[in-house]
């Protein structure tokens, strides 16, 4: 029996020993982590690429335009022939108008639907609504921009007197619709991860579902909800196509939402579709605007990261 077993063992183990190509195996084992690491490095190179591109070209820009004029100037008139002005405040004002309107639309609706989905809705409703939200989040922004220009603006013009064809209101509302699914789904995640035992504790004292939602779930999930809003704001600031199509190209440093505006992103698009030659001040200006935009969104992203890390509830 024993000897027979040894014969058998030697058969498969022998085959293994013969066919095993130790050398290639060893090389592959050593090479793969290095190869995969170099793939991971690409993402770091991308960040470096972005930062260096923006810094170098912005530096070129500041050789031609003074940094104080750029930061504190209230007129953005790059195309006025003999004396172009590059004060970024009007572009920032345009961006902030749109972002603010978007937040006013998206935050109440987004959090309210998150509460509904997480606290009230049946499993079946949730399974219908969530994919629809995913679809809404997947609609390309160019489509939203078209919708803003050809539907929302005309409808608003019926309601709001003096609303121009290009304005801040219409793209603001549509950007709000665009970021709404993001707020809803991230807030819903935060609320759903509040343990049921906390809800049951309140319900057993005779609290209504509304009281549980507002006094128990909302405070417990607050950091997640705030982080979702901050991330959504970052998305709104960087949104391009909606504001390019429906916002206009008249940068103004004021508080009007009915007049034509221009956001930072829309300016970059305007220059890119025009024929500003390589090496001109206008060409470099898109990098300085891009750099400003990048800083805005970076701060928002880091803030969201910090909020969700720092105030993460431990259940």
């Amino acid at each position: 029996m024993v000897s027979q077993k040894e014969d058998k063992t030697s058969s498969v183990q022998q085959l293994i020993a013969n066919s095993r190509n130790q050398k290639t195996k060893k090389i592959v084992e050593k090479a793969m982590p290095a190869l995969l690491f170099s793939a991971a490095i690409i993402s770091i190179l991308t960040t470096f690429g972005i930062v260096f591109t923006l810094i170098f070209e912005t530096f070129e820009f500041f050789k031609r335009v003074s940094i104080t004029d750029f930061l504190f100037g209230t007129k953005w008139l790059p195309f006025s022939g003999n004396e172009p002005l590059f004060g970024i405040l009007p572009l920032i004002a345009g961006t902030l108008k749109v972002t603010l309107i978007a937040v006013v639309v998206a935050v109440p609706f987004g959090i309210a639907s998150a509460i509904y989905l997480s606290e009230y809705a049946s499993e079946k409703t949730r399974r219908t609504v969530k994919p629809i939200l995913e679809v809404l989040a997947g609609v390309p922004t160019i489509v939203y921009g078209f919708f803003a220009l050809t539907f929302v603006t005309p409808v608003l013009q019926e309601i709001v007197p003096g609303l121009k064809l290009f304005n801040a209101l219409s793209p603001g509302i549509v950007v709000g619709i665009m970021i709404l699914p993001m707020i809803t789904s991230l807030s819903e995640d935060a609320m759903s991860s509040v343990p049921n035992s906390m809800r049951e504790g309140a319900l057993a004292l005779g609290a209504t579902k509304f009281e549980v939602a507002i006094k128990v779930v909302l405070p417990a999930a607050l950091s997640g909800i705030v982080a979702s809003v901050v991330l959504a704001i970052s998305r709104a600031i960087g949104e391009t196509m909606i504001v390019s199509l429906a916002g206009g190209s008249t940068p103004k440093f004021d508080l009007s939402v009915t007049d034509s505006i221009q956001t930072m992103t829309a300016y970059i698009v305007q220059v890119s579709t025009g024929d500003a030659g390589y090496g001109t001040t206008i060409y470099y200006s898109i990098y300085s605007v891009g750099f400003t935009l990048f800083i805005f969104t970076l701060v928002m992203n880091l803030l969201a990261h910090y909020i969700s890390k720092r105030f993460r509830e431990v259940y």
């Binding site: 084992e29 793969m32 982590p33 995969l36 793939a39 991971a40 690409i42 993402s43 770091i44 991308t46 972005i50 591109t53 923006l54 609706f109 639907s113 509460i115 509904y116 009230y120 609504v129 994919p131 629809i132 939200l133 679809v135 809404l136 997947g138 609609v139 390309p140 922004t141 160019i142 489509v143 939203y144 921009g145 078209f146 919708f147 050809t150 539907f151 709404l180 699914p181 809803t184 209504t208 509304f210 009281e211 991330l231 600031i237 960087g238 949104e239 391009t240 196509m241 390019s244 992103t265 970059i268 890119s272 898109i286 891009g290 969104t297 970076l298 928002m300 992203n301 880091l302 990261h305």
Partner: protein, 292 residues
């Protein structure tokens, strides 16, 4: 002595219950807002675009005249673009995810990579356009080609693919890896033959969703300076091209009302492509749902 006065409690009770009902209705209406918006949006676009959507529209090149305008160059161009974006972003994304989940030890470099990826996901797409314009179009001299746009788009969706692939790889139970190691398999053999096959449905679903984002993305293409009125099809990776969202943007900007309908028809084509891709992703997700 009792502190709870039953009559007061009962009186407040009715109010509280009514408040609950009112708020529930409000929350529900807020939820329907998104759904109604989507319905209106789709309805508008279908009614605007359907009349222009026909075989000629699909087979014609762009034109100065609305009724002769077609989407052929843009549709084929978008396919070419995907032919670059899909392999580049999936190989890099899945490679990074494998590295982070299977090999990366907890140290500063790897923490930095992780943090960097989550930040990269929040960078506006137009900034990626500036990167593409400087690095790929000018420095590497690729011009306004499919390759330059493809690389730019790949970097843009890379974080999405990495995160999706990481989740899929993490979902493979450790017992599976142990079983493989227990047979004398090496680490790479285990990854290649056990972890990846089990994670592939998740990776594919995530990748398709990321690609569908890339196919509808406009801003980077605008910044790179992709042309819109093209009378020829691309003949290679370094060829000039145009893409669906770019073409739609051009039509939507035009002052003539007729072009609005053309734009709507273009959106219908784009949305159909997206719907197709999403259906495939959902099919894969449902077909290969977890079996552990």
């Amino acid at each position: 002595m009792r502190y709870m006065d039953d009559t007061v409690v009962m009186k407040r009770m009715t109010k509280r219950i009514t408040a609950n009902k009112v708020w529930k209705t409000l929350f529900f209406l807020a939820t329907t807002f998104a759904l109604v918006t989507l319905a209106v949006l789709l309805y508008r676009i279908v009614t605007q675009g359907i009349d222009y959507l026909n075989i000629d529209f699909l087979t014609n090149f762009a034109s100065r005249f609305a009724d002769k305008a077609g989407i052929k160059a843009a549709l084929i161009g978008s396919l070419w673009l995907m032919a670059v974006v899909a392999p580049v972003s999936i190989i890099l994304g899945v490679g990074t995810a494998i590295y982070l989940e299977e090999y990366a030890k907890k140290n500063k470099i790897n923490d930095f990579i992780r943090m960097n990826i989550s930040n990269l996901a929040g960078v506006p797409s137009i900034v990626f356009g500036l990167l593409g314009l400087t690095i790929f179009v000018r420095m590497m001299g690729l011009g306004k080609s499919i390759l330059a746009a493809g690389f730019t788009m790949s970097l843009l969706i890379l974080p999405v693919i990495i995160v999706a692939a990481q989740e899929a790889i993490r979902a493979v139970p450790n017992e599976q890896r142990e079983a493989s190691y227990g047979m004398g398999a090496t680490k790479w053999q285990t990854i290649l033959r056990v972890v990846l096959p089990a994670a592939i449905p998740g990776i594919l679903t995530g990748s398709i969703l990321a690609l569908s984002r890339a196919i509808g993305e406009t801003a980077p293409l605008v910044v790179i300076g992709i042309p819109v009125i093209l009378q020829f099809l691309p003949n290679g990776l370094l060829s000039q091209f145009t893409a669906l969202p770019m073409q739609i943007y051009d039509w939507a900007k035009r002052p003539q009302e007729a072009f609005q309908y053309v734009a709507a028809a273009g959106i219908l084509v784009l949305m159909t492509v997206l719907l197709l891709m999403n259906s495939i992703a959902i099919y894969i997700r449902n077909k290969f749902q977890k079996r552990y």
